[in-house]
């Protein structure tokens, strides 16, 4: 009952005209950025991070959350209409969404996914409402050792659950921590890696790093690969899904909501994993699995629902444990730090207006999104007419303006450009940038909590073994590492078996 009472107090905060305006702006901007092919939620949040610096913390996080789940909604539009996924999580949407559009069912597909996304998000927000306070209560008596373990877990899960090279992810995560170490040592006040520069003494600004890596770097990468060319003759009118479509999709939506909510909570999970897993689950449950990939309405509904519910449930570890489960939430973590608020177990008691206000704003934001996406989908579709080559220069100057406005510093602008070039080069060398930003955000927490723990325990590592959180999390890490190794081994065995069965292939053992 406490949760409901607190939620109502959150609605009081969220329903202020000022907050309502920024929630609406957030979901609107998120949808628009999400539907621009080439820009995903990380880029959207990174580019708009400086603007939220001018707002108070609660409003800023409400707006950023709106941008996040708004861009998830927006990403499905080009995926269904053009077969162009705006971000990785929308790739699965193209499998059945685009064939449905080619069959003349684009409007129904868009409506059904909007409703599915709304239901999925609502399930996730309800979970957040009732689970978060309990988790925060359990996490309430955690100490420095636990915080160090939690931060390490967040970083390691991103490294081990990532799709690319684990060694590369580990390297880039460490580079992120090293960049965060530039400036004054948080414990003893010594200058580190500053080389006598006064600008470096205050450290590297998170806004400059985020805008550089995910905004400017992305635009430079798109400049090389060619900007989106714009599409004419897109006229979509709202058409609700038929009764048959709804009957086919209702359980898929329900399953997608549960799968998405659960995956969103896991560090390293998030939209892409949620949509792939829920698509696979739905294919197993489906009576017509052969239709998958050719326009299966249940497959489309499941992955879009899971995608959106995961974006909402990913706030649970951030708000309760202070562990951002993916790079988007790491940037929102950074936004909170900019306002001198550290997310974690103490957040619910120290800043209840922010905690409950943000949750309440999610309910409101989702209703606004549904209202925008059902009748106004035709208006959003018109955005796809604009060429990326016109949008990119505009976005670039907006990003520079935003970075400059935070501290009125040209040094920050130069830093952002520098990180943009570094981000582009790292992408060319096939480095995943997610671990970098997580390392950058979690690095100072890791260091401070580790050094505090060592000071308290007089250098005795046994202090970690006393903590139940440690034992529980070590089990989780071990399971993750063992599962990855077993999976790799099984893949290798399958390959060897395949080769052994191939008479043309000679095996040398």
């Amino acid at each position: 009952m406490d949760a409901i009472t607190n939620l109502f107090s959150g609605f009081e905060v969220a329903f202020s005209p000022y907050n309502l305006l920024f929630v609406t702006l957030g979901v609107l901007i998120g949808t628009v950025i999400g539907l621009i092919p080439g820009l995903g939620p990380v880029t959207a949040i990174a580019l708009l991070l400086p603007i939220t610096y001018e707002l108070d913390a609660t409003t800023a996080i409400m707006m950023l959350a709106g941008i996040y789940y708004g861009s998830m909604y927006g990403g499905r539009i080009p995926a269904i209409l053009l077969g162009l996924p705006g971000d990785a999580s929308a790739v699965v949407t193209t499998f059945d969404g685009y064939p449905l559009a080619k069959q003349g069912k684009a409007s129904q597909a868009l409506s059904l996914t909007a409703i599915g996304s709304f239901i999925g998000s609502t399930v996730a927000i309800l979970t957040l409402t009732f689970l978060a306070p309990t988790m925060a209560k359990i996490a309430g008596n955690i100490n420095s050792a636990d915080m160090f373990i939690l931060a390490s877990l967040g970083l390691l899960m991103i490294v081990f659950l990532g799709s690319g090279s684990k060694a590369k992810a580990m390297i880039i995560g460490c580079v992120g921590i090293a960049i965060a170490a530039i400036g004054i040592d948080p414990i003893d006040g010594n200058a580190r890696l500053t080389f006598g520069s006064l600008d470096l003494l205050s450290g590297i600004n998170i806004v400059a790093v985020a805008v550089g890596l995910f905004g400017i770097g992305e635009l430079i990468y798109n400049a090389e690969h060619g900007f989106y060319k714009g599409t004419k003759d897109l006229n979509i009118k709202t058409k609700m899904p038929s009764k048959a479509d709804w009957l086919l999709a209702r359980f898929a939506i329900l399953r997608g909501s549960i799968v998405g909510t659960l995956i969103g909570i896991i560090p390293g999970g998030g939209g892409p994993v949620a949509s792939i897993v829920s698509y696979g689950v739905e294919k197993k449950f489906s009576k017509n699995p052969e239709k998958f990939g050719k326009g299966a309405i249940d497959g489309l509904a499941a992955n879009e629902t899971a995608d959106n519910s995961s974006s909402n449930s990913s706030f649970i570890p951030l708000l309760t444990l202070g562990v951002p489960p993916n790079p988007v939430l790491a940037l929102i973590f950074g936004a909170l730090l900019l306002h001198n608020i550290t997310p974690g177990p103490t957040l619910i008691n120290e800043h209840p207006e922010l905690f409950w206000g943000v949750i309440a704003s999610m309910y409101i934001g989702n209703i606004v999104l549904l209202a925008l996406n059902l009748p106004l989908v035709g208006v959003f579709v018109q955005m796809l007419r604009i060429r990326g080559s016109i949008m990119a220069p505009i976005i670039l100057l907006v990003a520079l303006c935003g970075v400059f406005s935070v501290r009125n510093s040209l040094f920050d602008v130069i830093t952002a450009i520098g990180f943009g070039v570094v981000g582009y080069i790292l992408r060319k060398a096939k480095f995943d940038l997610g671990p970098f930003i997580l390392g950058f955000i979690l690095g100072p927490i890791l260091e401070v909590e580790f050094r505090r723990t060592m000071l308290v325990s007089d250098g005795d590592f046994g202090i970690f073994l006393d903590r139940p959180v440690f034992l529980g999390l070590v089990m989780v890490i071990l399971i993750a590492v063992v599962a990855t190794s077993v999976n790799r081994l099984r893949k290798r065995q399958a390959q060897l078996r395949q080769r052994a069965n191939n008479p043309d292939h000679t095996m040398y053992i």
Binding site: P37, G38, L39, P41, V42, E54, G86, A88, V91, F95, S163, G164, S165, K168, M170, I171, C174, I177, A178, D185, N190, L193, I216, E218, I220, Y221, A223, E224, H225, G226, F227, G271, P272, K283, G293, N326, S389, I390, A392, P393, I394, L396, L397, V398, L400, F404, S405, L410, I417, I425, K428, A429, K430, D432, L433, G434, M454, L455, S457, G459
Partner: protein, 175 residues
């Protein structure tokens, strides 16, 4: 369908990066390209630097870790992972001079902005940078280039300087 998922997940170099980039202009190639080798060597050198810097700063003891301890640990982890990352077989994009030229033009526009900032101020320097970016990186017509380059800074001035009260003077710093 399974193949479709496999292909898509394989393409996801990062699950958080947009995938809409057109297929690699010049196709893909196996083996470590020059850019990868350059990045890896730079990272290895940076790791060695971190180790030396960490030791020079002072690592302290386990009961009282000092400023250099973190840098030392980071340097060792990076150095340990570098050979593992190097030997992993991956496919990379083939270098395409013309396409990379568009990326270079964008960086050139950004450098022009920084170089002319003190002389002309944020908005005029921004307009100059946009001319280079819109014309040579985005390859738009001169008409569109001028429209984008003139209108964008003007609108941003209204938003940031007027609405948000950000101290971004219309005039250059020396005036």
């Amino acid at each position: 369908m399974t193949e479709q998922i496999k292909n898509s997940t394989a393409e996801m170099s990062s699950p958080y990066q947009p995938l809409v980039d057109a297929p690699s202009p010049g196709g893909m190639r196996s083996g470590n390209p020059r850019i990868f080798r350059l990045v890896m060597v730079t990272i290895a050198l940076a790791a060695i630097f971190l180790i030396i810097y960490g030791l020079a700063t002072g690592t302290g003891s386990l009961s009282d870790p000092d400023s250099g301890m973190l840098l030392l640990i980071l340097g060792i982890i990076i150095l340990f992972c570098t050979p593992m990352a190097w030997v992993r077989k991956e496919v990379f994009e083939v270098f395409n001079t013309q396409r990379v030229g568009h990326a270079v033009a964008m960086v050139a526009g950004l450098i022009l902005f920084v170089a002319t900032y003190w002389l002309f101020g944020f908005y005029i320097a921004g307009a100059l940078g946009l001319i280079v970016i819109t014309r040579w990186s985005a390859v738009e017509s001169w008409r569109n280039t001028l429209l984008v380059s003139l209108i964008t800074p003007a609108v941003l001035y209204l938003i940031f300087a007027t609405a948000f009260n950000v101290a971004m003077s219309l005039l250059p710093g020396w005036l």
